[in-house]
């Protein structure tokens, strides 16, 4: 299969402008004839739905939560990047672009990333106009802070709840359109299948999570803005409801899945405290602006943090990466933390933890300034652990946080299925093999506010709007509904002995061990085998109580975990086939003498794109080669 990314010609810096000037338009009178389905109401989904409705399209918006405001974008803490250069510290679109490409270890598409950096400045303008209360300086100007992988201050933030404020901005814009009747909102609806007709996306099948009713929704285009799949690992910083189902069901209908093994493990999360744990909590990367990571110099240290004298502490990030120090990118920092723990120098009861120490910052800035910057994070830490980070250092450990992989899309954000667009974390496009901090919010909003509203015109202008359903189309919707019904019935019919959570937890453990921060050929092969076995056991022995005709959370979970069980295998296979190390993907057999990633550009400077072949059949791997015109491929160094 030839994958055409449809990147416009011309110099990198002009591509997007050129695209915008040349893209075919849909006239205002015609826009209202087109119906667009938007699945998901996070930053990407809410911003896209609102913007499309403002343009005049008819929009149907879906989310599985009880309200569009609950999408997990809400939990992003630290901030959003934009190349505003308000700090006069040398930032520019080109520098943000470059940082992002390098941060992603040269495994993302130049044109997409450049566009992202370009529109980043509009995002901040838009959000401020909506009333997002970003942090300000005393003079009334916007404040910035630094984030990992950058040497400038370009991160805009709203205390420790930037995601919340940005999402509420988008939610408000969406609510306005709902109130005006231009968006029809379907909360508590889960997309369970994609409907195609002659290879084009024509609609979706949803389940009403309260009544169990399955409904077919038709449209001229379908947008998936359904987030990432990190919950495959069971323990992660994701919301418990975050899932891959919409993407995966689209994948089963032919949408290619790219780079599934690229999963971000965030260095600063609160360590696991026991078997019962259901979720890991992130401590924002912004803490590394002032917090210093360290472990004892010698293994088997028994003393408490306060008893260890300065000379016996190893500030390992500052030692290993002197120019970026504690603000080394996430993949690098996580691996460094893992390494020191593997050496037996980890702290805390499990030995899986490192200190994040604020005593120096408190001494330098005073406790009140530290409090002003991070109070909500410190109190979150206190609630969970019962410890005060003002008195003793935090203990942190890496945890699954984001997935760079996702459905394959071209420059238009359209998947290989015409009419199916994928936005935000659900697509693979902008972050390569590692995402820099404060870039996820940027991408979600860029896609929804400023990219898709243009690119969708190109597709729709070539389509005849809506019209009457043909018999053939009706048949496609009916068939898809049947498929969903059969799957639901099957899940409810097993009545085995084990709850869904049991399988999910075991899948998570396999993925964490074999497809986590460090990967080996043998381990990944074993992972594939184990997941296959687990999947078989699931379909024989899972217990899903209740019926399909009412609110049944066990059924919802079972459906989602059944998809994770298929995706998990693909993640391992993708990691297995990518026989190199890059970004988050660290293959032990490809490392430098210092233990850093060793890329193999000659063989793997490409995006993998997996094609579903049918139940139980091995997926086929395609590749989209990456060509770099602007940046020089180099070994990523943060030393």
């Amino acid at each position: 299969m030839k994958l055409d990314p449809r990147i416009p010609g011309g110099p990198l810096a002009d591509k997007w402008t050129k695209f915008k000037t040349n893209v075919p338009l849909v006239t205002p009178a015609n826009k209202r004839k087109y119906e667009v389905i938007v699945v998901g109401t996070g930053l990407a989904g809410a911003s896209a739905a609102a913007s499309l409705a403002e343009l005049g399209y008819r929009v149907k918006s879906f989310c599985f939560q009880d309200s569009p405001r609950r999408a997990h974008s809400i939990a992003a803490q630290g901030g959003i990047n934009a190349a505003k250069n308000y700090q006069n510290d040398g930032d520019s679109v080109k520098r943000l672009f470059h940082d992002t490409i390098k941060g992603g270890d040269f495994r993302s598409r130049e044109a997409n990333v450049y566009r992202l950096a370009e529109v980043s400045v509009n995002i901040i303008d838009q959000c401020v106009a909506q009333g997002v209360p970003f942090a300000r300086e005393y003079g009334g100007m916007l404040a910035n802070r630094s984030f990992g992988g950058a040497q400038v201050s370009r991160t805009f933030y709203a205390r420790g709840a930037t995601g919340q404020q940005l999402l509420l901005g988008a939610y408000q814009a969406l609510s306005r359109q709902i109130g005006l009747g231009r968006v029809r909102m379907f909360p508590r609806h889960e997309m369970l299948d994609l409907v195609l007709d002659e290879g084009r996306a024509q609609g979706i099948i949803t389940r009403n999570l309260v009544t169990g009713e399955l409904t077919a929704h038709e449209a001229d285009a379908v947008l998936l803005c359904t987030g990432g799949y990190g919950n495959a690992y069971y323990l992660s910083t994701y919301a418990r409801g975050s899932n891959v189902t919409a993407s995966w069901r689209a994948h089963r209908r032919g949408a290619l899945f790219s780079n599934p093994c690229f999963t971000q493990i965030h260095p600063t999360c609160i360590p696991v405290s026991g078997e019962y744990q259901s979720k890991l909590t992130l401590m924002s990367e912004s803490l590394r602006n002032d917090g210093r990571c360290w472990v004892p110099k010698s293994a088997g240290e028994k003393r408490s943090a306060a008893q260890i004298p300065e000379g016996e502490r190893d500030y390992f990030l500052e030692r290993l990466y002197p120019s970026y120090g504690n603000l080394a990118p996430r993949d690098i920092a996580s691996r460094a933390a893992k390494r020191v723990c593997d050496e037996g120098r980890g702290v805390g009861p499990s030995g899986l933890g490192v200190y994040l120490d604020f005593s120096e910052a408190i001494g330098r800035l005073g406790e009140s300034t530290v409090k002003e910057r991070y109070a909500n994070l410190f109190s979150m830490y206190h609630e969970i652990t019962g410890e005060s980070a003002y008195e003793s250092p935090m203990r942190i450990f890496p945890a699954v946080h984001y997935t760079m992989g996702g459905l394959w899309v071209d420059y238009h954000l359209m998947s290989n299925i015409p009419g199916l667009f994928v936005l935000g974390e659900a697509n693979f496009s902008d972050h390569g093999a590692n995402r820099l901090g404060a870039s996820a919010l940027m991408q979600g909003l860029a896609d929804g506010y400023f990219v898709l509203p243009y690119t969708i015109g190109d597709y729709l202008s070539k389509q005849k709007p809506g019209g009457k359903k043909t018999n053939r189309q009706a048949e496609a919707f009916w068939q898809a509904t049947e498929t969903v019904q059969a799957r639901t019935k099957k899940l409810l019919g097993i009545r085995g002995t084990k709850p869904v959570s049991d399988f999910h937890r075991r899948l998570g453990k396999i993925l964490w061990d074999q497809c986590g921060m460090s990967r080996t050929k043998k381990g990944l092969e074993q992972g594939v085998e184990e997941i296959r076995g687990l999947r078989q056991e699931f379909w024989e022995n899972v217990n899903v109580p209740g019926s399909g005709e009412d609110l049944n959370q066990s059924l919802e979970k079972a459906g989602r975990v059944s998809d994770f069980l298929e995706l998990g295998e693909l993640m391992c296979r993708d990691a297995l086939e990518r026989d190199e190390s890059c970004g988050c993907h660290f293959r032990e057999d490809h490392q430098t003498a210092e233990g850093e990633c060793e890329r193999r550009d000659e063989k793997f400077s490409h995006v993998s794109a997996w094609e579903f072949q049918g139940e139980g059949k091995a997926e086929v791997r395609h590749a989209e080669p990456l060509s770099f015109e602007e940046v020089q491929l180099a070994t990523r160094s943060y030393k």
């Binding site: 303008d125 009333g131 995601g163 408000q172 109130g179 026991g274 506010y449």
Partner: protein, 248 residues
């Protein structure tokens, strides 16, 4: 550690509900309350019974999904915390806990501990926004906003829409929720053009949704996981009056 639970079970919106009791054993004080509910649900599933339906999502206190009344207190015993941020170390070993859904006419129970809070969305749809289309915005620094005003606006904007204010209010009033949004936007220069219209429309939507009225007891403020001040309610009362007078 062990706890006795009395949990509200209700099959559906129209069904009669009742309490059922469960024993939660082998607990760890560092477990979160919701993790304990996970354990209870897994046990119920193994016994072939239907687990307790309850809402939860981010489990870090920001999405506003979780909503349990524990011993008559929305979000449980701790100040400034959501249900998901309650840990078992807040309870005594062997304690009996009564767990109920939010109670308010505007929030009907859908099943067990799950209620329908879409009335909040309707209030926002009525006017809880700044009418600015994508692409219309001027440069972000074109309009300076004092640090203090920005911070105050954030305080109000931090509302997570969980509905604990309504649940705690003896009158099932949504004034704190509505006031928080009215004030968040009303504090900022961007929100000024629609300030009067916004408060009128949002209050009308709030009244239509079947919420009760404020009788200035401030239980809302006491249980708010984001500790949003009831002063915003006063500010909304004033905004509303000013807007109504101007309208005349």
């Amino acid at each position: 550690m062990k706890l006795h639970l009395r949990v509200w079970r209700q099959k559906g919106r129209e069904a009669e509900g009742q309490f059922e009791t469960y024993e939660a054993k082998g607990l760890n004080p560092n477990m979160s309350f919701l993790e304990m509910m996970d354990v209870v649900n897994d046990e119920l599933t193994k016994e072939g019974k239907e687990p307790v339906a309850f809402e939860h999502d981010c489990r870090e206190g920001i999405c506003g999904s979780c909503a349990m009344v524990i011993n008559g207190e929305p979000h449980g015993p701790n100040k400034g915390a959501t249900t998901c941020q309650v840990y078992l170390r807040s309870f005594q070993d062997g304690e009996t806990l009564t767990v109920e859904p939010w109670r308010a006419r505007a929030f009907p129970v859908l099943k067990d501990l799950v209620t329908d809070r879409s009335a909040f969305d309707k209030v926002i749809q009525a006017g809880g926004f700044v009418s600015v289309n994508t692409g219309q915005a001027p440069d972000a620094n074109a309009m300076p906003i004092g640090k203090e005003d920005a911070e105050k606006a954030f305080d109000a904007a931090h509302c997570i829409g969980c509905g604990a204010c309504v649940a705690a209010c003896r009158n099932g009033s949504a004034m704190l929720f509505v006031a928080a949004k009215v004030s968040h936007l009303g504090m900022l220069p961007q929100g000024q053009p629609e300030r009067g219209e916004r408060v009128r429309k949002m209050v009308a939507a709030m009244d239509a949704a079947g919420f009760g009225n404020c009788s200035n007891q401030y239980a809302c403020e006491a249980v708010c996981p984001k500790e949003i001040s009831a002063d915003w309610i006063g500010r909304m009362n004033r905004d509303y009056a000013v807007s109504a007078v101007k309208k005349l």
